[in-house]
């Protein structure tokens, strides 16, 4: 897959004169994204803040975020990939079929205007949310947007960034990368890391019944995943670590209550732009931290006979 052209949020604050939100509703889901980072603040090169920026929202429905937009482009559901692909063609002055473009829910003129604004921006940024990355096309929708952003650099400065949802999900990516070389879905069964989304990603694994035990922490799949996945979690021995007794706890063999990240557990968390920040807990928890529980589980296992990985030859693409 392609790369990713991105930046830290301060670059957006200081420079961005075109801010595009795609498939996300920051007004409700990331309330300070507008005010602290991307839209309202006065920046070094956008001294008038909001006045110096154009904000465009692309979504399938009018959310409260639309009020903050200069231009709201409402598109038909599941047409994001088509729209981005058309924009890629337009910026290169390549032909597109207007009749099929119409299915996106926008006119060719609207798309041309958008492409034009993108090319004319001094510093453009696209933030994309789950409305893009979790709808039909999934990772290809994200890849499309990242590719468009990269290609716009032939004309001006342009970056893209996912609006990561849950707290420290970014930290998980970062740490798995340095420890295993891959950002998520890493199989360590053979003693070295292997990666193949779809094969080793949780929902697929659970639906196929590919694991025979589970440890869940910092998530509540019992409340959010499709039923067949939950059924498998209930079927196998599951361990849950959470500050509360969750839906997942209730289908688990073991639940351990832990201190709350950043409130009563110290440590580090990564912001969506991969900047690490220290946590400053204000309370003392009566419960141990996740870190401590995990360490103690490891200590317990370390007392058992060592399990070494299979000795079969490694699979490499080079063979």
């Amino acid at each position: 897959m392609g790369g990713k052209v991105t930046c830290t949020l301060g670059e957006v604050k200081n420079r961005a004169d075109l801010v595009i939100y795609w498939g996300g509703n920051p007004a409700e889901c990331h309330p300070r994204h507008f005010t602290k980072y991307a839209l309202m603040p006065k920046g070094k090169f956008v001294p008038n803040g909001r006045k110096d920026r154009t904000m465009i929202l692309v979504d399938i429905r009018e959310t409260p975020s639309a009020k903050a937009a200069d231009i709201f482009l409402q598109i038909k559901p599941t047409k994001d990939f088509e729209m981005i692909t058309v924009l890629r063609a337009i910026i290169k002055e390549q032909p597109v079929d207007p009749a099929i473009v119409a299915e996106i829910g926008l006119s060719l003129e609207q798309l041309r205007d958008l492409a034009d604004r993108m090319k004319k921006a001094k510093f453009g940024v696209m933030f994309f949310g789950m409305g893009l990355s979790m709808t039909r096309g999934k990772h290809m929708n994200s890849a499309a947007l990242l590719t468009l952003a990269a290609e716009l650099n032939a004309f001006t400065k342009f970056v893209a960034m996912p609006m990561r949802g849950h707290g420290n999900v970014t930290g998980g990516d970062v740490i798995m990368r340095w420890m295993t070389g891959y950002p998520f879905g890493v199989n360590l069964a053979r003693g070295y890391p292997r990666f193949n989304p779809g094969e080793f990603s949780t929902i697929d694994m659970l639906i196929r019944g590919d694991c025979d035990a589970a440890l869940i922490l910092g998530a509540d799949p019992g409340a959010t995943m499709p039923q067949p996945a939950i059924d498998h979690l209930a079927r196998v021995p599951t361990i849950t670590l959470d500050p509360k007794v969750t839906h997942t706890s209730r289908i688990s063999r073991v639940h351990i209550t832990t201190a709350v990240t950043g409130i009563s557990a110290p440590g580090t968390a990564y912001r969506m732009d991969e900047i690490p920040l220290p946590l400053r807990p204000a309370l003392k928890s009566p419960y141990p931290t996740d870190e401590e529980v995990l360490r103690r589980i490891r200590q317990k296992i370390a007392c058992k006979p060592l399990q070494l990985p299979p000795t079969v030859p490694m699979m490499t693409d080079a063979e």
Partner: protein, 115 residues
């Protein structure tokens, strides 16, 4: 209870991870937040230092943390293909332990990113 003020606290509710929050606490709960958004403020106020939940549960019944850790270790050790999943609302330090644990028990480790 004495009021303590924590400055430059970091909110991990959403991916913005704002680190300019001021928290006032009475030792048991956070009574006041400054700079936090609505979501952040309710996140901070929703969690207290009270002992509201059992330390641990085994098969739905209260257990000690020691017992729970022991059983958790057995389960992961005995499994042929354990899965470790989540990693969103935990610290980097805990994430690092999770990867170490996954390696030790020969499992798969995954986060919300795969969704």
């Amino acid at each position: 209870m004495e009021l303590t003020i924590t400055k430059n606290a970091t909110c991990t509710f959403c991916g913005c991870v704002c680190d300019d929050i001021e928290l006032h606490s009475d030792g048991e709960r956070i009574t006041h937040t400054k700079a936090a958004c609505v979501l952040g403020a309710s996140w901070f106020k929703n969690h207290t230092a009270e002992h509201l939940y059992p330390d641990a549960l085994i098969d739905g019944k209260p257990a000690t943390v020691d017992e729970a850790i022991e059983l958790a270790a057995d389960i992961l050790y005995d499994a042929d293909m354990p899965l470790i999943y989540g990693l969103s609302n935990i610290t980097c330090e805990a994430q690092r332990e999770s990867v170490g644990l996954a390696e030790m028990v020969g499992g798969i480790i995954d986060s919300h990113t795969s969704l």
